[in-house]
């Protein structure tokens, strides 16, 4: 078990190196720091001096991978690759193009993101599974048929509609909760209700349908027939046998997403004005702050890989058939 986890973590290193290289190529080689400076300063009124100054202010005034002007190890360390890309491995995200400390921002902003994403995940999961079980219980009847149709309709509606519509209805027409913003501590709840509700509703269509298929697949297995042959009632078969087996893919699917919850949701956060990592990213994209985008890409990859490792571990916990070695 320990050996397995160590091996998985070791396996993550080449992946992170790969991610790092991709971001390096994307951010520094496809377009040089000069291009970025020109873009930020506005193409028209740009002078070589102002470009140089922009670069110096942000530590971009170095060669990409090899510095011929330095000696010894500095030839490698005094480069953009070392300082901007490799530094990410030490979770040293540096400062943003507008001069703020990215690590500090992240540590501040991950909690509001989690405060939205975690309830959405949990409430959504419970809702979807309940609806799916209902449909499976009434399988091959009108209830099932109409339920599936409703699911397809709900999943055909754009997420933007749920958000805009929800904001309009609950916030502007009914004036139940504030449309956007965020509060400190307990007071935050009234800002959270609406985004969580909308997040859950938006996911019902796809989620319910997915879990229904999962349950139906289990419902046709031989062991279900054995359970019925024992004289178990449909409800007991559904909860005691089908659900228990289907929970394995469901739980492990949830685990892989857990670490990424910190990253927040891009559009929900920006619509509701929640100061999380999602809106942080959006703001960075809109203000073309490459340092932040770079940091978020790396952070996202790390969390994803963490999710993969956790998934493997969770398999051993919920599935008696799986032993890691």
């Amino acid at each position: 078990m320990t050996a397995y986890i160590i091996r998985r973590i070791l396996y993550a290193i080449p992946i992170l190196i790969g991610v790092n290289l991709i971001t390096f190529v994307l951010f520094f080689m496809v377009n040089s720091p000069d291009d970025m400076a020109r873009m930020h300063l506005g193409v028209k009124r740009v002078t070589p001096e102002s470009i140089e100054q922009w670069k110096v202010e942000r530590d971009y005034d170095k060669p990409l991978v090899f510095n011929v002007e330095e000696d010894g190890s500095d030839r490698f360390t005094q480069t953009i690759f070392y300082q901007k890309s490799l530094a990410l491995f030490a979770f040293d995200f540096g400062s943003s193009d507008s001069g703020r400390d990215i690590s500090y921002d992240i540590s501040q902003r991950m909690w509001p993101s989690l405060a939205i994403a975690l309830p959405v995940l949990i409430v959504g999961l419970l809702t979807n599974i309940s609806f799916a079980l209902l449909l499976v219980f009434f399988r091959a009847t009108y209830v099932d048929f109409m339920g599936v149709v409703l699911c397809v309709i709900m999943m055909s509606i754009s997420a933007l509609f749920y958000i805009i519509g929800g904001q309009f209805l609950v916030g502007k027409v009914l004036h139940l909760v504030p449309v956007s913003g965020f509060g400190e501590g307990i007071a935050a709840w009234k800002f959270l209700v609406l985004p969580v509700l909308i997040g859950v509703i938006g996911g019902i269509g796809g989620g319910t349908r997915f879990y229904r298929t999962l349950f139906l697949e289990e419902a046709h297995r031989d062991y279900v027939r054995s359970a019925r042959a024992k004289g178990l009632s449909e409800i007991k078969v559904l909860f005691g046998h089908i659900l228990k087996n289907a929970m394995i893919p469901i739980l492990t699917g949830v685990v892989v997403a857990l670490p990424l919850l910190f990253m927040g949701s891009l559009i929900t956060e920006s619509f509701f004005g929640i100061p999380g990592l999602g809106s942080y990213t959006i703001d960075a994209i809109n203000s073309q702050d490459f340092a932040i985008v770079r940091a978020m890409v790396f952070l996202g990859s790390v969390l994803y890989i963490l999710g993969l490792v956790l998934t493997d571990i969770s398999y051993t916990l919920v599935d008696p058939r799986v032993k890691l070695n």
Binding site: A140, Y223, R225, R228, A229, N325
Partner: protein, 660 residues
């Protein structure tokens, strides 16, 4: 009958909606008395499982009972509300299924699954379920039941799983146990254990058993009465002794004639031509008519009458049928005994699969699938490789064909060493050795036509100048295996299992191989179709003098077809020799046990089954010394210390310390 426990009257079951529905069970009637074993015998797709599921009211969602009554102990099961029916299921009726591997819930413990049934149906033990579960597990002969209770199904062997299934079925102290092919997925030695257990339980609890099977041998050993099903109908019912002595219906008679055996060695088997008709058809007249060799005009137009009573009778237009079976004439020229040239020579072949573990995925051990075997096959001869599942016999076949590369040892085809060859050199030799696979469903690409399937080898081996020349060869070979030319443009799913196996044979033969490895070619087929394929294989061998390596677990096929037999246990051959010597006078305790466990289609024959305790160990960690010693009834100290030397008498080779 008033004393019957289960009484089924004119049961008809339908699956699917009205247009395009299939009727798997039509007007089936039979009775089972307390303490009796009634066997429902029939080939695949004849409706026997659907009959059982109708009794349980567990038909698939699209299925329903359209006619008839089912009485259990006077209760009409068909009219019972679902709530009361649930009390019957698992209570008065227990059921076990064919696939113990998939029939248990993989994520629940043995104790939970058995306990569930106890909780539902056993009120006295509601207070102490675990004690009752333990008792049940002991009852079905599970060793070390305390430990097993907390284990999960994947930790148990196939035989153990089936025992757990039986324990589950027994939890409600059923009056009737329905066993749907309970031993088909198990090896013969395990099958013998399970059948023993069923018999023993029946004696103790006086329950009735409805045994569903396709195996005449199992019927002969276990049943009191038998009902033969064909295309959804019961065509004959009889007490077992009478049935085996004098089968009445032409189909039952042909079924016996189609069984391969030593006595029929030098003549073709009497195969039933054609296939079981589809149950989607609407039948007029007798359902067996199209395959019956004594059919008359009336058989096509009128439904046959039932002769006799419900306990003993048959469904046929003809009366006073012949009593002796038709045997095909013995061939005048018994294949001459001159020794052919050697085609295949295998020496000390080993085939290991590495087991990797730990941080660096180092190889920490090997699965010794094949652990040093020798084989010689001459042209025109058949060597049978016999053993239970997991003994490595299929790996031997693939190792010879270099589909898996042997770890060490030598394989020579016509004197050419294969294990060292690579790439083009090996490819050019592949025409000389071909293989026929067990499962006709997966051995052909469903996306290719028969023509493309058969000509694939020709193209790969660059035989034939152009498409038309290849086409000629394909036509010729299809004709040889008895398939009409018009089949060439069709796809595999349009064919029955037997026809597919013919295509597979054609595909191999078109390359004119010297060696044909047949990996259980008939084990997925029904007896009547098996006879067709065995006949074909035999004819082809006589014509083309091909050497066969026949891999099988079916002893009767071996006795019918093989010249020489090698018995494998856990990666090694334990006994080898002439087929008559080995089967007639087995020396190795394993061979003796294996042969004794094979059910024989003769209820009169009393035989002593040598019981083997436990299961075959894992080839990753074989026992020391003689691999068989932990299960051997005659093992001594030395057996656990060293692998026995070969002892030879004539061509008969045995690896056993008892014969050292």
């Amino acid at each position: 009958m008033t004393d019957s426990l289960l009484s089924i009257h004119k049961l008809t079951t339908q699956i699917g909606r009205d247009d395009g529905a299939i009727i798997p069970v039509s007007s089936v009637s039979f009775d089972i008395h307390p303490g009796e074993t009634f066997a429902l015998l029939g080939e695949s797709g004849c409706g026997k499982s659907m009959t059982a599921l109708s009794v349980m009211r567990l038909l698939p969602p699209a299925g329903k009972i359209t006619e008839g009554e089912i009485f259990l102990d006077g209760i009409n099961l068909r009219d019972l509300p679902e709530v009361d029916m649930r009390a019957q299921r698992g209570g008065n009726i227990g059921m076990i299924f064919q696939e113990p591997m998939t029939s248990l819930n993989p994520v629940l413990t043995v104790a939970y699954q058995v306990g569930e049934a106890v909780k539902l149906h056993d009120e006295e033990h509601a207070g102490d379920i675990d004690a009752r579960v333990l008792e049940l597990l002991q009852q079905v002969g599970i060793p070390d039941p305390e430990r097993r209770m907390s284990e999960y199904p994947h930790q148990l062997s196939g035989g153990m799983k089936q025992r757990v299934m039986i324990a589950m079925a027994l939890a409600g102290r059923p009056k009737l146990l329905i066993a749907d092919e309970p031993t088909t997925a198990l090896d013969v030695t395990i099958q013998a254990q399970v059948l023993d257990l069923l018999r023993d339980l029946q004696k103790r609890t006086d329950m009735a058993i409805l045994l569903i099977t396709h195996d005449l041998g199992v019927v002969a050993e276990t049943a009191d009465r038998v009902g033969v099903m064909y295309a959804g109908e019961i065509i004959e019912t009889a007490p077992v002794d009478t049935f085996f002595a004098e089968p009445q219906h032409p189909y039952s008679q042909r079924l016996f004639d189609a069984l391969p055996s030593v006595e029929r060695r030098n003549r073709p088997l009497t195969a039933i031509e054609g296939n079981v008709p589809s149950l989607a058809e609407t039948f007029r007249g007798c359902r067996f008519r199209s395959r019956c060799d004594v059919a008359k005009e009336i058989c096509a137009t009128e439904l046959p009458p039932w002769h006799g009573d419900q306990e003993h009778g048959y469904l046929c237009h003809l009366q006073q049928l012949r009593s002796e079976s038709i045997e095909a004439p013995q061939e005048a020229s018994i294949s001459e005994q001159e020794p052919g040239k050697n085609v295949l020579r295998v020496e000390q072949m080993q085939l290991y699969f590495p087991i990797k573990k730990g941080l660096l995925r180092r190889t920490v051990g090997h699965v010794r699938a094949v652990d040093g075997i020798d084989l010689d096959i001459s042209s025109g001869k058949t060597v049978a490789l016999v053993g239970e599942s997991g003994c490595g016999k299929t790996t031997v076949g693939k190792g010879i064909l270099q589909l898996l590369r042997p770890t060490s040892g030598s394989v020579q085809l016509n004197g050419t060493e294969l294990t060292k060859l690579k790439g083009e050199n090996l490819r050019s030799l592949r025409a000389g050795m071909q293989m026929i696979f067990q499962d006709p469903a997966s051995s052909m690409n469903p996306r290719m036509t028969v023509e493309a399937i058969v000509s694939e080898g020709l193209i790969a081996q660059k035989i034939g100048k152009d498409r038309s020349e290849r086409l000629e060869r394909v036509k010729a070979i299809l004709d040889r295996v008895g398939l009409p030319e018009r089949f060439m443009k069709r796809y595999p799913h349009e064919f029955s299992g037997g026809q597919r196996q013919r295509i597979a044979i054609a595909r191999s033969l078109v390359l004119r191989p010297d060696l044909l490895v047949c990996d259980e070619p008939t084990s997925a087929l029904d007896v009547s179709v098996q006879a067709q394929i065995l006949n074909l294989l035999k004819e082809i061998q006589d014509e083309a003098k091909i050497a066969y390596l026949f891999i099988t677990h079916n002893i009767s096929v071996v006795s019918y077809l093989a010249d020489e037999v090698a018995v494998m246990y856990l990666g090694r051959i334990v006994e080898q020799g002439d087929v008559d010597t080995v089967l007639g006078d087995p020396k190795h305790p394993y061979t003796q046990a294996l042969l004794s466990a094979v059910p024989v289609a003769d209820p009169q024959r009393e035989r002593e089954i040598i019981r083997l305790p436990g299961d075959m160990p894992s080839p990753a960690n074989p026992p020391s010394g003689c691999h068989f010693h932990p299960r051997c009834p005659r093992a001594t100290d030395i057996c656990s210390q060293s692998w026995p030397e070969l002892s030879k008498s004539g061509t008969h080779k045995v690896w056993c310390h008892l014969h050292g």
